[in-house]
């Protein structure tokens, strides 16, 4: 902290910023915690008088105050409106976070999810009163099966990692049924998302890493060498986290099946191939679909997501409850595992992320068979266009064509003193959310850019010009290292000290710690 900012209490603008009395800067308004704004006697709701009724809390009535602040509704509305203004969002601009598929979120989908017939239905109402809800789940399941060319789908997983768990447990259950449970080794490429090995571990498996070849794909010879009678499965992302289609995928599928294992495909990047390639035609056994990526249910600041898992005929019998059944009186739900089925168990209470199902189906119906194919093509076109136009100023990690995202490494920053992180932070000052940084791990200083299909050409051109200008500045400016390291300058906060946060964690507000002590 500088002497200057200490002198004014550490509550005002950064170097070069306009100094204000309040610390605010126009639309950037300093906002204390909600806990620092309460007053006894204020409340944001008006509750009716209590009916007369004897207390029956078994002597366990709460004694003493909780410590929640009291605020009126306008104060709360202003507080969260101000907080929202400190966030970047797709609605505000290009959000090229690789492997996250930050595409436009149509508001029609929000409206549909809030129809009382979907949003205000209890999960345990008699099935006769929720036929439309079950029809919606069944319809979405049908679309997902057709799009992927797979015969079954488990709908209940709550997110991508939860879907991975679902798929891997289907595999484990299938091995148990085949008396092959001694198979406990799972092959995972080095470039995989961290959830893959973490999921395998939760399923009781050990993880064996497969190296990448020089072109960013699975090293086929190394993979085949690792096959053996103890291998349960391969977990492979396709297109992979380098944004590349695994050319040998059909051969990989044959090899893993030949060795008695199953093929888990991570569908995080399904957006690149939807309508162009059916994963079922590639020989996979299961794949989770991030509805919050490919099918545009909003990311919501980090969830909720939804991760249905499509399954091959070999794995379908082991899908977890619940699932929708076509009965003689309409739709019904199978809710009990072990009751005349081979379900591996249950992964979530009730029926899955219904609110996300409605949004995803609205999105899919809006696009239709023709539009979904166009989605994939435009996503791939945008990424390749971006790569073609940035290939001279930045350094592509692998030769193209790429799929829906463009991966660069940090060779273009060599000897500049500027890092991938610095480059990302400079982009923030230019009005962009940075790309994914330092992932995948197989590339040094990775910059993974996924523009998605909902960016216009003009939007891409502007972004490309900014990236090129920053790259040239890094290479040529005398003060490049210091200049980049100082970014971002125009954000509500400058770079934050993550080391200090981890060293002495402060994870909640406490009344005895005044804000000043944060220094």
């Amino acid at each position: 902290m500088s002497e200057w900012s200490k002198a004014i209490g550490g509550f005002t603008g950064g170097k070069g910023a306009v100094e204000t009395t309040s610390g605010n800067r126009g639309l950037q308004i300093e906002e204390p915690l909600i806990f620092e704004q309460g007053q006894d006697g204020r409340c944001g709701v008006d509750l009716p008088a209590l009916p007369k009724s004897a207390e029956r809390l078994g002597g366990l009535a709460r004694k003493g105050a909780i410590g929640l602040p009291g605020l009126s509704e306008p104060q709360v509305v202003r507080h969260y409106t101000r907080l929202s203004q400190k966030n970047y969002a797709i609605d505000a601009g290009l959000y090229p976070l690789g492997s996250c598929t930050m595409k436009h979120n149509p508001r029609l989908n929000e409206k549909m999810a809030r129809l009382p017939g979907f949003g205000d239905v209890h999960p345990l109402q008699p099935v006769s009163t929720v036929q439309g809800a079950l029809e919606l789940i069944d319809t979405l399941a049908h679309w997902l099966k057709i799009m992927t060319g797979m015969p079954a789908v488990a709908m209940s997983p709550a997110a991508g990692a939860h879907g991975e768990l679902c798929g891997m447990l289907c595999i484990r259950a299938a091995h148990i049924a085949r008396k092959q449970d001694h198979r406990r080794r799972v092959l995972v490429p080095e470039s995989a998302h961290g959830t893959n090995p973490a999921t395998a571990a939760v399923c009781g498996y050990t993880v064996d890493s497969i190296p990448a070849d020089a072109e960013g794909r699975v090293d086929l010879a190394a993979f085949k060498a690792k096959l053996g009678p103890d291998v349960a499965a391969i977990m492979l992302t396709n297109p992979n986290t380098c944004g590349l289609f695994e050319r040998d995928i059909i051969e990989i599928a044959k090899a893993i099946h030949g060795a008695g294992g199953y093929f888990y495909c991570d569908g995080a990047n399904f957006n690149a191939i939807v309508g162009r390639v059916r994963p079922g035609d590639l020989g996979i056994d299961c794949m989770h679909i991030n509805l919050h990526k490919t099918f545009s249910t909003p990311h919501g600041g980090g969830g909720p997501g939804a991760g249905p898992v499509v399954l091959s005929a070999a794995l379908a019998p082991f899908a977890p409850v619940p699932w929708v059944v076509h009965g003689k009186d309409g739709y019904a739900v199978a809710e009990q595992s072990g009751a005349g089925n081979e379900a591996f168990g249950r992964l979530k209470a009730f029926h899955g992320q219904m609110g996300m199902f409605v949004r995803a189906l609205a999105y899919m119906m809006s696009h239709g068979a023709d539009g979904l194919r166009q989605v994939a093509e435009d996503a791939v076109l945008n990424a390749n266009y971006l790569m073609a136009r940035l290939k001279d100023d930045l350094t592509p990690a692998f030769p193209g064509p790429t799929m829906h995202e463009a991966l660069f490494d940090d060779r273009f920053l060599k000897d500049t003193g500027v890092t991938t992180l610095d480059f990302a932070k400079a982009l923030i000052d230019e009005g962009y959310h940075p790309m994914t940084m330092y992932f995948p791990l197989v590339v040094h200083g990775a910059l993974l850019i996924e523009p998605t299909e909902t960016e216009s050409r003009e939007s891409l051109d502007q972004f490309i010009e900014v990236c090129s200008a920053l790259a040239r500045r890094a290479k040529t400016a005398n003060d490049a290292q210091a200049w980049f390291h100082d970014a971002p300058r125009y954000t509500p906060r400058r770079r934050l000290d993550e080391t200090a946060a981890a060293r002495k964690p402060v994870l909640r507000w406490k009344p005895e710690v005044p804000a000043k002590a944060a220094e």
Binding site: S84, K86, R114, H122, R172, V277
Partner: protein
């Protein structure tokens, strides 16, 4: 296509800039056998009006809980959510942002997560809380796995009064992750003795309060028994509003508290998305699953927030992570935070008292129906009644009269004749006196 900005001219010139003849060149890495030329067998794109029309037809086939007298609970509760909550969470800056990987442009998300963590710690009476889980049921399974790590033991004791879906999830994780989950027998009378099931190898006892039948218990003796045996006490709360009226689990000696947070800020949504709350004691912090927002300072010394302690998480630790969880339930956590802020101390405790009083009123009315008895002495806003007929048949008959009268225990625990006549009934602030009278009147005729 209204969501796709590229024009045919754009596409053509962009392909030229890339230096390829057509899209097939960009997909050339796809094996020939898997390339699809035609469209899949699904309808073509539709305008907004058409989508709205078709989905509205489906929605109209359901009975919305708010359109009829409705008394359903069992882990999902219908409460009134102030209009401002939904308006605020639909601000694009919240709705269309992602995990705050770049804290300088995500202080809004990080600050509300910090506020959420504080609210969760306060209402549960615990020291720390994470930035949310998928829902209460998955949080419960994560709590058991955390207790196994913290104690280096692998036998979890599950109360019979634990929600059957929660129990099934823990049993599923146990079966495949290699630990033991011993489930108790559901006791509708609420007299389960859990302490006697604790042994030297017990990692945790998982108890729901109020339990699935609505019974409330003083957990202090159980906490003491756990402490003596070196096991952790995991308390599950499926109706988070109850924390406004009841002694919090933290004060009764809980080591981990997990809650379904749906009641605050979030609608029924046919079961999801919901929001899991996860709180514990500071000494177990590094065993905790899920994301955490922490306070720090920026380069100018100003207070700010970041994601922290991520060395526990899968993107750093991979197969050695504390959990495979990545996405949490951010927007539902935001709805919770805003609703809780609007309620404040007076609103949250007042809402809880109102729920309890209304449930008391309903219990008294139902107890007066000939042939119906209330099993609970103590309850919060949900209790169990015994009917002279199978509850599932009664509920179907009530539904035909457009009353959602409760949840048959047999829906959750089928095939047990001794539970077949039991019905779980809930009252919240959304139930009026005339709703209650409609239920009571209909029941009188049906069970006669």
């Amino acid at each position: 296509m209204r969501y796709l900005p590229l024009t045919s001219a754009d596409r053509k010139s962009m392909l030229a800039a890339i230096g390829v003849a057509g899209m097939d060149d960009l997909y050339r890495d796809v094996p020939a056998a898997a390339r699809r030329t035609g469209l899949v067998d699904l309808p073509a794109h539709m305008g907004e009006l058409e989508v709205e029309r078709r989905l509205s037809v489906m929605a109209a086939k359901n009975i919305a809980a708010g359109s009829v007298p409705s008394f359903l609970g069992a882990g999902a509760y219908r409460h009134h959510v102030p209009a401002s909550v939904d308006a605020l969470i639909q601000r694009g800056e919240f709705l269309t942002s992602y995990t705050p990987y770049q804290p300088e442009v995500a202080q809004g998300t990080l600050q509300y997560l910090f506020e959420f963590q504080t609210q969760v710690a306060l209402i549960t009476g615990m020291e720390v809380a994470n930035a949310s889980m998928y829902d209460g049921s998955t949080a419960c399974a994560e709590a058991v796995m955390m207790a196994n790590r913290a104690t280096r033991r692998s036998r979890a004791v599950l109360a019979g009064g634990l929600h059957p879906h929660y129990r099934a999830i823990v049993e599923t994780y146990a079966h495949y992750s290699g630990f033991t989950a011993e489930s108790g027998v559901p006791d509708p009378a609420g007299n389960e003795d859990l302490a006697k099931r604790i042994g030297a190898d017990t990692s945790c006892v998982v108890v729901q309060n109020p339990d699935m039948f609505g019974h409330i218990r003083d957990l202090r003796p159980l906490a003491e028994a756990c402490r003596k045996a070196g096991a952790l006490l995991v308390v599950v709360v499926t109706e988070v509003v109850s924390l406004g009226a009841l002694t919090p689990p933290g004060e009764m000696g809980a080591d981990i508290v997990v809650c379904e947070g749906q009641s605050i800020g979030n609608g029924l949504n046919f079961g999801g998305p919901y929001v899991g709350l996860f709180a514990t004691r500071e000494k177990y912090l590094r065993q905790m699953p899920g994301r955490l927002a922490g306070q720090t300072v920026d380069a100018e010394g100003r207070r700010g927030w970041v994601l922290t302690l991520s060395t526990r998480e899968q993107h750093i630790r991979r197969e050695k992570a504390t959990s495979n969880i990545c996405t949490n339930s951010g927007l539902c956590a935001l709805a919770f935070t805003i609703h809780m802020s609007i309620l404040g101390e007076a609103g949250f405790t007042g809402l809880a008292k109102l729920n309890h009083a209304l449930a008391g009123t309903l219990a008294d009315k139902l107890a007066a129906v000939p042939g119906v008895s209330v099993l609970n002495k103590a309850f919060f806003n949900e209790f169990t009644i015994k009917l002279p007929k199978p509850a599932d048949l009664v509920v179907e008959t009530l539904a035909k009269r457009r009353i959602l009268g409760g949840i048959p225990v047999s829906r959750l625990i089928p095939g047990k004749p001794d539970l077949a006549n039991l019905l779980l009934v809930t009252a919240t602030e959304t139930n009026t006196e005339s709703d209650m009278d409609a239920l009571v009147g209909a029941l009188k005729e049906i069970v006669r």
